[in-house]
Symmetry: D2
Subunit: 350 residues, 4 copies
């Protein structure tokens, strides 16, 4: 008798997909039931370890990637479907999956934005369709630290962007407290490792371009900007967000500059941050003046936050670090799975 | 008969010293007269290529580092003395060298700052001495793009800090034009390769810490801040400057965020930058929206400037790149030597 | 009531110590009983996460490093003591620990070599002592793939060197089968990441020296050579072993050149390797012509072996890859712990 | 009147082409006459600095890449043509260029091999043609240290492969002296930076694959093997050559293992090497036991050689380092240009 899979993953060929497979194969709640790995409709069955040799030995099963079909999902009893697919594919698949009663965790940008003005940058081909509008209305932004309750009940979880996660977690406590002088503008200078640029070999991801280099890109136009505006409830010119390509495989460090409306002490700020995340085990707050490094978080699902206050008590720098493939993608997706199932939020993630 | 050296270099053991030696050995105006390389007083004579194997073969002479003495400088006819020494040593040597009629190019932070409040961060042991006060009054800030005329006549040139060079060159044109809204604050998010942290093996420069990592340091307290304030004529809280340690050997990229007092077009900004540097061959201006990378400038003496303007016409990001050991140290020192001698500013630097 | 520790670790400040702490904190057989972490005698109690910030959040306990004392070991009921200490310290501690009935897994080079000629390179201060001779006679070389049975019963396990593990695992099957022409010599060209050079900041481990570089070291004199000779039962000039320092944090790749006594086919060689490791889950054999990369094994406890045979059927190249901090140190130590306790060899290591 | 170019370069889009352009633009003998840069027939005229931004500012001319045509070569008075083109294109162009009286320096593998068995690996489409046979018979292997006299008179110079240069220079002195025991086999374990893999973005050159990794490739089948055999006059199974891909931008280090026919001293070997290269300024011999690093040679045209002898006096390891884009490609091509013109061999290369 075929073992029943409760979980399926569509799209495991990329970097986030590989991490997702690894996390699910090791997840204590899924022991004894390997997830169902799916490729594109019509694609041939292939071995998972041929695609990702580093996954060899993690499971006793012969792990395979099966061609996608709705029937296969049904016959294998799938309840939760991870979509690690390009935006357009997620737009197409999610409404159908919803109608079949599946719960979805989508890692793409397809369902993250409520405001059509913010969505414009994606140029979705089905922007105006009824199915998409309905799916969007059901979608919950999958940042457990902000939307834990809604995620627990959600049918469609839109897993946040990696940059967006790092910046929203850093800013939310002080913005929500009304401490930040929005009129002075917020600068988010963010730096990401090369895995964030995807697995496609391009001039940009060529070792000779990426190594021993640093470059800014997507200035005043990066797709994650809309997530910042919606989740922080800010007007469109309040945030200046500049991503940079770092010569490292993985990790994000965002240096965030805010001006406070009133003079504050380091103690007040630390208390604000710690209080906000008191029930969030995947956010670690550093003591004032102890700034996190990328190495502290790489290959973990933690987001580390540190800050330093200027002697004037008004200018504050917050440093936020996370692993773009884990807390910025696959790890956060598993964290959402835990929340959706009522499991401990950290299960399979420590 | 001993060949006469016109040039001496004190301190060639560090990274900037090695670059300075290389540049001077190749300098067309110095062909046939190797510079005199000097070590600490009382140190033993040693081979330059034993210290820096990569300099082997650059000269037909057996290159040696001689123990320092004033007599040796006199007997070898030295006219210009480069000090690639720690701050305190430069504070001690420069007044004496001035009194002996030598012209000095000092690569340390000893003589860069006119305002004693800004100098406080260095804690100079001779802060209040007459000799130091007199030397400081003769000192010219060695950024040729700003002070070419004064450098040409100077006895003591204070070669700028690497971060300071990158940021001042980026900001000066628009600040001088009165375009920048100082009240909104200027954010300088700068990133430097590890050579900027010096040759001393430390926990910070250990490969295991520096590689695959990014970290901020010196937040609200870096020594180069005073140079920014003095050269840009800004109040002390107008600039927020955050250095980061990049996992690359050399190169600086500074991402600089300004708000303009009035709406401007990209053409206006490009014209402003090009006009300011029209006679400065070592600054290269990129067309609007074409941002420089660190790789464009590594192992050159160029500072590359690019910018991008927000759709609102008010928020402007300037990217500035240079090689911290060349335009940020040894290359700029040679550029100053050229200016002091009335030679072409780019000689020996292309 | 104080929770009882069955396991203690002495020396967690280095890279292997950090990995060992991480593995033991996650080990399923040790759930609910954090190991006892120990520092030098007389050292102050300090927080483990202050030393290794990346371990934060892995345990609910406040993890501390306690000053070492034998009484503390007794009072906490310690049965197995890991020594992640320098050679000389292991030489001093192990005999005493044995006399107190502890089982020891020593990660240093103190007890790996039976032949005093091979030990000479270590210049042990107690080379001729009775206690050391007795301890050495009890010592088992901790390579489970070769000595599983002896390790299960051992009081003192000498965890192998990282290079030695990679080379012995690659060569043992064909050498044991008598296939290798010893007279033609075996060349082992091995390359290791910088963590192998230790945490001490030195000129060699400085980012500026290690990055963008490659260098050979320890030629004809590396300490792991004796392990190769003893474990492979070879005369002293049969192996030429050259380590190189790779510009990466971790991982070893050894390229091993043997000449076969008789012409063989790729199928025969693959069969020989697979047969030898059929009960060894931590060794993965690649199909003929599919050579392993360092990335396949980094952050795993696997040793990956691949090979390619020349068209002449006599010259064979074996490529062996492992993570020097895991299968080359801490992971192998935990594998030995598993064997000593009769647990599954892979527990806590997948 | 159009300034006359004596030199033309066909193919400057790759890494070696960029280095070649840089060297020629700075070459003291070519001052005042920029080389003629040529693209494919029919391609549009484009700016050289658009292709290689790091070349900006090196020349007062507006540097352009012109569409290739024979007429343009004639009208611009070209005497020497560099071919930095793929093998097949060089096979097609060189015979025609020869018939027009041009002297050629070809950087591809098209004309390096005299033995058709060695050429087989290239699968040249015109292998049997008369034109190719005639061109090959005129071709001189462009390693000045071995063939200086022939190069001076040559019409067609076949610039050697990068690996081949590093290995031939290391082995030639002792092989020529008859000291090497060929029957014992020579192992050449070579490691190259990623620029050696070309500018095409591929899975292999993707940062995520190349960084933090090491892998062997081309085992028992690399194209440079034939050059080793022909230039060292060895039978086909005497050399085992294994290239590896290093996670660095540029540089080659080859570790070469030979067995000597008779016991030798380190002094004898050092004397042999120094004597062989006494008139070769681009080869630097290190003292016995002082092994070169890649950093010593990167961005230079030097090949550095060092060695270490086993205590048995028979096993000898030679380490050879060079920059694959300079001494391994563009620098060696300029060295050949110097020799062909009777200029100092090092001109424009120090």
């Amino acid at each position: 008798m075929q073992q029943q899979a409760q979980i399926a993953v569509l799209g495991v060929t990329g970097y986030a997909g590989a991490e997702l497979a690894r996390l699910l194969l090791r997840h204590p709640r899924l022991a004894g039931a390997s997830p169902l790995f799916l490729g594109r409709e019509g694609s041939a069955r292939e071995s998972l370890t041929a695609i990702h040799p580093q996954l060899a030995g993690l499971s006793q099963d012969q792990l395979c990637v099966e061609p996608f079909s709705w029937d296969l999902l049904t016959s294998r009893g799938v309840k939760v479907l991870f979509l690690a697919t390009p935006h357009e594919q997620s737009r197409k698949l999610a409404p159908e999956a919803l109608s079949r009663g599946l719960r979805i965790i989508d890692l793409s940008g397809a369902w993250r934005l409520n405001d059509s003005a913010n969505r414009a940058v994606y140029k979705f081909s089905d922007e105006a369709s009824l199915a998409a509008t309905k799916a969007q209305s059901q979608s919950v932004y999958g940042l457990p630290e902000l939307h834990r309750g809604d995620i627990a009940k959600a049918q469609l979880v839109a897993n946040p962007g990696c940059y967006a996660t790092s910046i929203i977690l850093a800013l939310k406590p002080m913005v929500a407290a009304g401490w930040v002088d929005i009129n002075r503008g917020i600068v988010c200078d963010a730096k990401s490792g090369v895995s964030g640029a995807g697995k496609e070999p391009t001039a940009k991801t060529h070792f000779m371009h990426a190594a021993d280099n640093l470059s800014a890109y997507g200035v005043f136009g990066h797709r994650h900007t809309g997530e910042l505006l919606e989740q922080l409830n800010l007007p469109s010119d309040a945030i200046t967000f500049t991503p940079h390509l770092l010569p490292i495989p993985r990790g994000i460090l965002a240096t965030i500059y805010v001006t406070l409306r009133e003079k504050r002490t380091a103690e007040e700020i630390e208390t604000c941050l710690r209080g906000f995340y008191i029930d969030s085990p995947m956010v670690r707050i550093h003591a004032a003046g102890h700034l996190p490094h990328i190495q502290h978080v790489v290959r973990t699902n933690f987001c580390d936050l540190g800050f330093q206050l200027a002697p004037d008590g008004r200018r504050c720098i917050v440093i936020s670090c996370l692993d773009n493939l884990l807390k910025g993608a696959a790890g956060q997706a598993v964290q959402n799975l835990n929340v959706m199932n009522g499991w401990q939020e950290t299960e399979g993630l420590l």
